[in-house]
């Protein structure tokens, strides 16, 4: 399958344009919002800080959330690619696997019963939840005859998600204070995140980004089928384990900072494939860039839909993502 960008030159150009675009959207994210600011204010905030309201907003709120959005978007985009390649399934993604719901449940459980509050603890318990939920969905989805088909996986993930979601709801019902604290987190948002939250998770995410890029050749081999991959000398068991570990790092880390943000993981890899075809060496970086841009853009949009209040970005991605998801389904990728 070829994308619309033929040849390595065009693809490289596309990637560079993407990176430039990512920077532009980051800047826009810093200056746009309820308190409109200008680019010069943003620069002054770091070079000639004078303690004005606008500068404070930029330093404390806008810049961290833009960076968090970018990091989470990149991670979710890559996680989607890895999952879709691993399961050879066009709709595999963190949310379909119930990762978000699992991490959400574990974190709410931690807040309610174990009294956790620091972002590091959030992160570890989020990883745990992501691993448990995706493992359960994978086992459930591949049970029975026919192996891991898209429909079975989707249903299994939906069941797992429903399980964790209702348990989360149950805890929240009995604990109104926790509801107040985690409601916004549960919707998926990058608002109000501090830079320290990002730096806590960033090393893990960064390692996972690099490893994923290094894995992309292996992904190509694996995409040809497990038998072919073995005959090409791939240690598929090791490969699958590492790739799954990366997925958990990426999805778990994202959900720990931003809460459950849906549909980025499904939509982005499809878009990247549309651009560059089926070579994972290109798909992985393109998905990263597109994911980052999409999440930051969605976050900008989230500031405007219910002005003066803010919508969680997870709601915006769901609003954008659902029509796309329905389009994929209608296009009939699942007809065998």
């Amino acid at each position: 399958m070829n994308g619309i960008l033929h040849g390595n030159k065009l693809k490289t150009a596309g990637l560079i344009i993407g990176i430039v675009f990512a920077f532009i959207i980051l800047v826009l994210s810093v200056i746009m919002g309820y308190t409109n600011t200008s680019l010069s204010t943003a620069i002054d905030a770091y070079t000639a800080f004078n303690g004005s309201n606008e500068q404070l907003i930029i330093k404390i709120s806008r810049v961290p959330r833009a960076l968090v959005g970018m990091a989470v978007g990149i991670s979710l985009g890559i996680a989607g690619v890895l999952m879709q390649a691993l399961t050879r399934n066009p709709i595999a993604s963190p949310d379909i696997f119930g990762v978000n719901a699992g991490a959400g449940f574990f974190i709410v459980f931690g807040v309610t019963f174990l009294g956790i509050s620091s972002i590091q603890e959030f992160m570890w318990i989020g990883f745990l939840g992501a691993a448990v939920a995706s493992g359960m969905a994978y086992i459930l989805g591949s049970a029975g005859k026919g192996g891991l088909t898209p429909v079975k996986l989707t249903l299994a993930g939906a069941v797992i998600a429903a399980l964790f979601a209702s348990l989360t709801q149950g805890m929240l019902v009995t604990n109104e204070k926790a509801l107040d604290e985690v409601l916004f987190w549960l919707a998926g948002s990058v608002e109000g995140r501090k830079l320290s939250m990002l730096t806590a998770v960033l090393p893990a995410l960064f390692i996972a980004w690099i490893v994923s890029v290094l894995l992309s050749r292996q992904l190509n081999a694996f995409a040809l089928g497990e038998d072919v991959a073995v005959s090409l000398g791939q240690k598929t068991v090791v490969f699958k384990f590492i790739a799954a570990l990366m997925v958990i790092l990426l999805a778990g880390g994202s959900v720990a900072i931003a809460g459950p943000i849906s549909f980025i993981g499904i939509v982005v890899p499809h878009f990247a494939r549309y651009l560059v075809g089926s070579d994972h060496r290109w798909i992985v970086p393109f998905s990263a860039i597109v994911g980052g841009i999409m999440l930051v853009a969605a976050d900008i949009g989230a500031r405007y839909i219910i002005m003066p209040e803010e919508a969680p970005v997870g709601v915006v991605t769901a609003l954008i993502g659902t029509p796309f998801f329905i389009y994929i389904v209608r296009k009939g990728i699942f007809q065998k």
């Binding site: 989707t154 348990l167 149950g170 409601l183 919707a187 209040e309 609003l319 993502g321 659902t322 007809q335």
Partner: protein, 347 residues
């Protein structure tokens, strides 16, 4: 002695295993006993036998008052809601031909939930007072469920509706409505958010005869339709080609079944909230007892669903007393692990 009973008329046919009949009878007995026990337990304990006599108008006036005015309607609504949800799940699993389908999974309850939360946020003023009567909540919920069902069906339509498209689009739509629900909850006051959370989890708290009168007609109206549809649903299990070969208009039938499913789920959700997992587990347990022929599966699912919600409500009222835990928490907490166990065992 023959192993099966066959009841056949022009428009319906039933093939009932005698073992199934016994199983259904036992289930009905369990349902009755659990209702009696559930009525008896509460702030004031009333022994099952006293409950029984009070139901027929004997015994202490005090007991009669408590039972007929407060506890009986609640238990009836719990039972009917559970039965409706389980039936709706059984139908859906038949239509989709996949045992993992259920009305909470394809967005029907999600639509009802969104409508209900919208109702709570849109019609409450600054001081958290509702501007119109809370009695309209079920109407909204029901409308939401119906609209979403049509939406899913319409989006899944492409020269007919295949089960796979139906379920996948249903899950997508479900995610959308979950997002919208969260948005609504955030826009409203936090007091409403917690009220909405309780409603979304599913509870039969504070039901009276009014609710019974509202939910019962739906349930009763759907029963004859189900009786007529049983044999056709049985055939659908063999796949679209065979069903068409048997002279059944698959798509019309599928639409009709989906509407019955929505009506049942919608009415249950409207009066008892989005009680989770009953629609999924009820039919599963029933299938283990009666096999997968819908003649036996329907009544067994309905009874098991009813028992589940009655017991979940009982647990919710008593275990953490004086705190009232919504019944939906228990159906999920017990139902979900059981479901996972089932799937692993079937592997």
């Amino acid at each position: 002695m023959r192993k099966y009973w066959v009841i056949q008329r022009n428009s319906f046919s039933y093939l009932i295993d005698k073992k199934t009949l016994i199983a259904i009878f036992v289930l009905a007995l369990i349902a009755f006993v659990s209702m009696l026990v559930s009525i008896g337990i509460g702030e004031l304990y009333i022994a099952p036998w006293d409950v029984f006599t009070a139901l027929f108008g004997y015994g202490l006036d005090m007991n009669q008052l408590i039972i007929t005015q407060f506890r009986l309607p609640r238990v009836i609504v719990a039972f009917l809601a559970g039965a409706s949800l389980a039936l709706s799940g059984a139908i859906l699993q038949g239509v989709i031909r996949n045992p993992l389908a259920s009305p909470d999974m394809i967005g029907i309850t999600g639509g009802a939930g969104f409508a209900a939360v919208t109702f709570l946020t849109m019609f409450s003023d600054e001081s958290n007072n509702l501007l119109i009567s809370i009695n309209y909540l079920p109407v909204f919920a029901f409308a939401g469920a119906t609209i979403v069902a049509f939406l899913i069906y319409g989006l899944a339509w492409k020269n007919g509706v295949t089960p796979i498209r139906l379920i996948l689009i249903g899950i997508g739509v479900m995610a959308l409505f979950q997002a919208l629900t969260t948005l609504m909850m955030l826009m409203g006051p936090i007091y409403r958010a917690s009220q909405a959370t309780i409603w979304l989890t599913g509870t039969v708290y504070g039901t009276s005869w009014k609710e019974v009168k509202a939910i019962l007609p739906w349930f009763i109206a759907m029963l004859p339709i189900l009786v007529l549809l049983v044999r056709r649903l049985n055939i659908q299990g063999f796949g679209d080609d065979l069903t068409m070969g048997a002279g059944i208009k698959v798509h019309r039938e599928r639409f009709l079944l989906l509407m019955v499913c929505t009506a049942l789920a919608g009415s249950a959700v409207a009066f008892a909230g989005a009680i989770g997992f009953v629609g999924l587990i009820g039919p599963h347990i029933a299938r283990r007892i009666t096999g997968s022929s819908f003649g036996g599966l329907f009544p067994a699912s309905a009874l098991i669903g009813g028992i589940m919600v009655v017991l979940a409500d009982l647990a919710g009222r008593t275990l953490f007393s004086p705190l009232e835990v919504p019944a939906g928490v228990f159906t999920a907490a017990i139902g979900a692990p059981y479901f996972i166990y089932l799937l692993f065992r079937n592997q």
